[in-house]
């Protein structure tokens, strides 16, 4: 099975995507998505801009919708929730439709969607991964792999178009999980590097997150608690799927 890792959405340019794609934004979009859906949110719609989020929420009706997201790591004025996964408790999100706008994660999902036709999207499986649901993602990919699917592409959200260590380590952990669970893999350069980084950093994820640019910015913004939350490997067994512009557990 062919496994490719790309460290920024920009690396997807000109790239053909296989049926199965995994999007990773550890700090914090995909961690938050996993936590929100695990806690009973109905769906999450990632959108590019704050204005678009507000307009959509107004159209759907403000009583069933929660607006959430961040700009420069901070909550957005007038929104219901920020982008810290710990905010997305069952009490806040159960039964709600979330409209979410974040800097990097949203962009990654939209970049993947853009590279597919309508038909492509219906057939494809685009999943969201973080450390929280690592085992569940590997299990889902490993099972599907046995059916002879044509490989997996892991897309790291990165940070403002650049490499982000935490996403690379998470991608590498998925690669390692797939290696342990099945036949030999054919890896691209990104996957080889990510695997090596996972070997190095999985033993102390919290320390690794503290070293990253994103982690340091969260600490500076008084949001350092996010690091220990997002470092919880296997907290959740849900695998969010992105389809028709929304993430759900269906």
């Amino acid at each position: 099975m062919k496994v490719e890792v790309f460290f920024t959405p920009g690396e997807l340019a000109g790239q053909e995507l296989p049926e199965r794609v995994v999007v990773i934004d550890v700090l914090r979009a995909t961690s938050t998505m996993v936590e929100a859906l695990a806690n009973g949110a109905r769906s999450i719609l990632p959108v590019a801009t704050v204005d678009e989020a507000a307009r959509i929420a107004q159209n759907i009706g403000r009583d069933t919708v929660l607006l959430c997201g961040e700009r420069k790591a901070l909550p957005i004025d007038g929104f219901d929730l920020g982008n810290s996964p710990a905010e997305f408790t069952a009490e806040r999100v159960r039964g709600k439709s979330l409209v979410m706008t974040t800097t990097n994660g949203t962009r990654a999902f939209l970049a993947v969607a853009e590279r597919r036709g309508g038909d492509g999207e219906r057939r494809s499986k685009v999943l969201a991964s973080s450390f929280l649901n690592l085992g569940a993602v590997v299990a889902e990919l490993a099972t599907a792999g046995a059916g002879g699917a044509n490989g997996v592409t892991l897309v790291c959200a990165g940070r403002e178009g650049r490499f982000a260590l935490e996403d690379a380590v998470c991608a590498g952990a998925v690669v390692r999980g797939l290696e342990e669970s099945g036949p030999a893999l054919e890896l691209n350069d990104g996957a080889i590097a990510a695997r090596g980084l996972a070997r190095r950093h999985m033993a102390d994820l919290h320390r690794m997150l503290e070293l990253t640019t994103a982690g340091r910015h969260l600490g500076d913004a008084g949001l350092g608690d996010n690091l220990s939350f997002c470092a919880q490997v296997g907290r959740s067994d849900v695998v969010p799927r992105f389809r028709e512009r929304k993430l759900t557990l269906e």
Copy 2:
């Protein structure tokens, strides 16, 4: 000292560059540049297209100019040399001006040049690194660092806009060299990852090169000899400098 590594020229978008920049394209542009200048070539002008290379060679005069480069790893029809460093012997290149067009390396130098004004370029030091001149590059950066320069940015050429393992390992080896030779460094995510990859792969560079997409393509094209050539750490003590669009040893 701040040390940043970017894995593709695309990651430079919106990035401010310090005075000192190092461009890395291990397979094969910067390896070839180092070998050619070490063997007495007067200068190397990297250009984007085959047509531009041919036009410039005609203007300067075909007797002092050598046309060199590759497309899809292979020599270009009507050119004097390809892009295998072993071709650039003293007999072929001494006293010659080289006009070179390659897929990834050229693009990286032009991306760096684009991010500078005329004044910026005159003040700046853009160097070419490969494994061949690794120690010389580290020595040059470490000396200048003592003068209080504002950091170093290492730009990997990558491969068709994507991450290339061999360039990342070389960048990481420079980071390690700087760490060993001076004060504590402030690293971005790319530099942390590159350093880890260098720790992992420097002990067997030839094996690492064989694993890479670029290395496998060279092998498939019958150019596998390039790997052992480009894996020679410290073969050369020259540090090519890119200024006014040309690489020289001045």
